[in-house]
């Protein structure tokens, strides 16, 4: 891919200023955060947010593979109405392993700890996160928690489901519940430390000129996510701790035999775990803004609305936990309130979707692989969100709760939403992270396979759930078999869709074409620095003179080219912007 450099008035001055910092060379290429040191110690004891992000990426991918494996076994088991090869107990352990790994060790940390960790300091013009050692510590906490969970799963398994409902988890279950709870507890602290780091960084580390309303929307989304992490995670931590002491020491707080209230556990659990849905979702929503802005080369329509809709989702997210308990002893009146507020969450979500569509509308959209992911995200997120309204309705929920309809709904949100967005973001920023371009054609095929396979897996589950198939059973009525077989087939395609990126992304590390600063012709601080960045991200203090997503000479790093490697045709608005910007820049310099 050739890189077209567009030099305008002011450009020479710009490069001159850069020239004062002589770039060191390593192995025939400019020094960057990857080639600056190669020892194992330089990775395991690094405080560089970019290296920690890569460490997270590797470890989280391993957990994703394990969780996916458990899902694959379940889908194989469900191809027949009387199970295939698992005992009921092993099946329970299998879906619990899938849930625990995917929620606590994949979905919650995946975007914040990898893409967020890598991009937030760069996007706001900082040299690193506020607390780099805390950042490294959070990765070790993640590993410790993950090890506990894996040991508990491999050493006998847990059959409570990922929700650890009492009194089953506290008294009756014979699995390794205690160890799994310890794992989830430690992982919670890993995400708390990440959250504190992000809140402080976004508040205090922004570059000169980077005001709140010039922040990329991904940063807004990550800020909202971090606030949820700070307020929610401690509550689930203490809740799990209470289950742990109930199980090990006999300190009984949720025990119904003493007159304790097991539903209290559900309240406290979902007080975190519903907002946790937004911990998984908001970063994904943020990524989609970046992808759409990069591929339309436009400002996101209604920037402020999209920014505040993230905050609104974070606020509403804390007020709807009761909709997980419509079928319990919860008072009817509080159920009504929870139902109404759950409907309200649709408003900020819809604001985002409509604003993305308005941004794309009549635009000249570059159909890159990440745009494929973004477009499929919009569709899947809409389906997932709208089916959520069915479940927020009290009467419909009584029919649909604990059926495959719920399973399909939250997989549309978690996989169709969060995971698709993560893959999209990974494709968008992979050249920035590694300095190499992957095979774009294969990437598009991968995106399509994921989309087709995903729908084939989970759409039948809406139908079979509506027909009445309960979740968490591997024996089902024979008339549901056709849907389950279809779902299992789709899961195979989905698996290929996930495997493909692993292959071509790894392949690109050695063989990919080298890219310049800004391979997509996008705007933002991350596109003004070399790929891969140097350890301190910026060789000189970044100064922000442009609005979020505004295409100017500086915001694109002086590089403008289309994904096909061609120059963008002359655009009058762009020229005006460039001229206005050079005047602006002089002002700032003064």
């Amino acid at each position: 891919m050739s890189i077209a450099v567009k030099s305008k008035t002011g450009g020479s001055e710009h490069t001159h200023a850069k020239g004062t910092h002589q770039q060191a060379m390593v192995d025939g290429e400019p020094e960057n955060y990857l080639n600056t040191a190669h020892t194992v110690k330089s990775w395991l004891l690094t405080t560089d947010h970019k290296r920690i992000a890569l460490l997270y990426l590797i470890s989280i991918s391993v957990f994703f593979a394990l969780g996916g494996l458990a899902a694959g076994v379940m889908r194989a088991e469900l191809t027949g109405p009387h199970g295939q090869f698992l005992s009921s107990e092993s099946y329970n352990k299998m879906f619990s392993a899938h849930g625990i790994i995917m929620v606590f060790f994949f979905l919650v940390p995946v975007v914040p700890a990898t893409l967020g960790n890598f991009m937030i300091p760069i996007m706001i013009g900082a040299r690193d996160l506020a607390f780099p050692r805390l950042n490294l510590f959070s990765w070790y906490l993640y590993l410790a928690g993950g090890t506990c969970a894996l040991l508990s799963i491999l050493g006998g398994g847990v059959d409570t489901g990922w929700t650890f409902y009492t009194p089953y988890s506290s008294i009756y279950s014979n699995g390794n519940v205690a160890l799994a709870i310890v794992g989830a507890f430690i992982a919670g602290f890993s995400s708390i430390t990440t959250g504190i780091n992000f809140v402080v960084t976004i508040h205090k580390m922004r570059a000169p000129g980077m005001s709140w309303f010039k922040l990329p929307l991904f940063v807004w989304a990550m800020y909202a996510t971090s606030v949820i992490i700070l307020l929610g995670t401690p509550v689930v931590a203490i809740t799990l701790l209470l289950v742990l002491v109930e199980r090990t020491l006999g300190i009984g707080i949720f025990s119904p035999e003493l007159g304790g209230d097991p539903v209290l556990f559900q309240h406290m659990f979902w007080f975190y775990s519903h907002p946790a849905v937004y911990i998984m979702m908001l970063p994904g929503l943020g990524i989609i803004n970046e992808i759409i802005a990069a591929n339309t080369r436009r400002k996101i329509f209604g920037y402020e609305f999209v920014a505040f809709s993230s905050i609104a989702i974070a606020v509403f997210g804390f007020l709807v936990w009761g909709h997980h308990m419509f079928a319990t002893s919860q008072s009817m009146y509080s159920s009504i309130v929870f139902s109404v507020i759950s409907f309200l969450v649709a408003i900020p979500s819809a604001i985002k979707v409509f604003n993305w569509i308005a941004t794309i509308y009549k635009g000249s959209v570059a159909l890159t692989s990440h745009m494929y992911y973004a477009l499929s995200f919009i569709g899947l997120f809409t389906i997932g969100g709208l089916t959520g309204l069915y479940l927020a309705a009290l009467a419909a929920d009584l029919h649909l709760t604990a059926t495959y309809f719920v399973v399909a709904h939250f997989h549309y949100i978690m996989v169709g939403g969060a995971l698709t967005a993560f893959l999209g973001g990974l494709h968008l920023w992979w050249p920035k992270m590694t300095g190499r371009m992957y095979n774009e054609e294969l990437a598009k095929i991968g995106a399509l396979l994921t989309f087709v396979g995903f729908n084939m897996t989970f759409f039948p589950q809406f139908i079979v759930g509506y027909l009445g198939m309960p979740r968490r059973y591997h024996y089902y009525a024979p008339e549901y078999q056709i849907w389950n077989v279809m779902s299992s087939l789709g899961a195979t395609i989905l698996g290929v869709g996930f495997l493909l990126p692993v292959l071509y992304l790894l392949h690109s590390l050695k063989n990919g074409e080298k890219v310049g600063k800004n391979p997509w012709g996008a705007a933002g601080l991350e596109w003004t620095i070399q790929s891969p960045p140097v350890t301190t991200n910026f060789t000189e203090t970044a100064i922000v003179t442009w609005d979020a997503y505004e295409i100017t000479f500086e915001s694109t790093g002086g590089v403008l080219n289309s994904p096909e490697g061609e120059m963008i045709p002359e655009m009058p608005e762009l020229d005006r912007a460039l001229q206005a910007n050079s005047a602006n820049r002089e002002e700032v310099a003064r």
């Binding site: 996160l129 995670t233 401690p234 203490i238 809740t239 209470l242 009984g252 025990s255 035999e257 350890t535």
Partner: protein, 298 residues
């Protein structure tokens, strides 16, 4: 490229006032660094508030449900021990403030002295607390046999503490008969064995599950016993978690003494001691809420 680039230090422009403070590479200047530390500490304290907040919710819910039991069970709280502990913690908060103040005024020996007093208070608190705990263990007021080897037994505690003093026992607010046969309280004799906490269900003999014939009074007494067990579960969970925080505080204070006494830390960098001071005040405040809620509600 080194992570601790020295030339960034000059970027601060506050070199005179903070000459000895190390500026980490990611910050523009020393003020930004200090502000980051403080915002980070406050954020952490927010998570701590939520952490304990959930427990206070549990406390409040069960207090509403089992108000009578709460009132009755409070009489096993040792108000003197709790009161002295409150005074000790308040004193330690004051010495902590004085330590921070001395650090800010660059008085190293005063700082170390106040830190030692603070740590002494913390240890004294834990000592008194463990005395209270062992008292509860002996009176069979720990919620299960996991630590003490004896089941929770409210009637036993009542006997042990009040019978010999000739005081009456109230169950559900009503006078309860306390005849004793062979040294065993009447409550136990009335109650059929049931499968308790964390006992293996399979180990129970058939028929043991069911309370075949229990008088209304005995049933009430057993419910009362169960509810009291919830109260003491909450008591041990909350004070136990608080004690864990005190222990962490002692470790942090020890670290400070190490910094100021042995490593002779540059005294004008007081961010560390100020942050640990904030943590210590938080631990103190939690106790300020725990004390009236556990000890004084009767």
């Amino acid at each position: 490229m080194s992570l601790k680039t020295a030339d960034l230090k000059s970027a601060g422009g506050h070199g005179e006032t903070h000459a000895h403070q190390r500026l980490n590479m990611q910050y523009e200047n020393i003020d930004q660094q200090n502000e980051c530390y403080m915002v980070g500490m406050w954020s952490f304290l927010v998570t701590e508030v939520m952490f304990f907040g959930a427990l206070f919710l549990v406390y409040a819910l069960y207090r509403t449900m089992y108000f009578e039991t709460y009132l009755d069970a409070t009489k096993y709280m040792n108000i003197w021990a709790g009161g002295i502990n409150t005074v000790i913690l308040l004193l330690s908060s004051w010495t902590m403030v004085m330590a921070v103040d001395s650090a800010q005024k660059a008085k190293r020996s005063r700082t170390v002295g106040f830190l030692f007093v603070t740590i002494g208070c913390a240890v004294a608190f834990l000592g008194i607390k463990s005395g209270e705990y062992s008292e509860k263990f002996e009176e069979r007021l720990f919620p299960s046999r996991s630590i003490t080897g004896k089941d929770f037994d409210y009637a036993y505690a009542t006997q042990a503490r009040f019978h010999h003093q000739g005081r009456d026992i109230y169950v559900d607010g009503k006078l309860h008969p306390t005849e004793v046969e062979d040294g065993k309280p009447a409550l136990i004799a009335d109650t059929n064995p049931i499968v308790g906490f964390n006992q293996n269900v399979a180990a129970a003999k058939p028929g043991e599950f069911y309370v075949t014939k229990v008088s209304g009074e005995a049933l009430r007494a057993r419910r009362f016993n169960d509810h009291a067990r919830i109260f003491f579960s909450i008591y041990f969970a909350m004070t136990g978690l608080h004690a864990v925080h005190v222990i962490i505080g002692i470790i942090l204070l020890g670290y400070l003494i190490h910094l100021y006494w042995m490593k002779r830390k540059c005294v004008d960098d007081y961010l560390t001691i100020e942050m640990i001071g904030m943590y210590w005040h938080f631990v103190d405040i939690v106790w300020i809420f725990l004390f009236p809620m556990m000890y004084l509600i009767a």
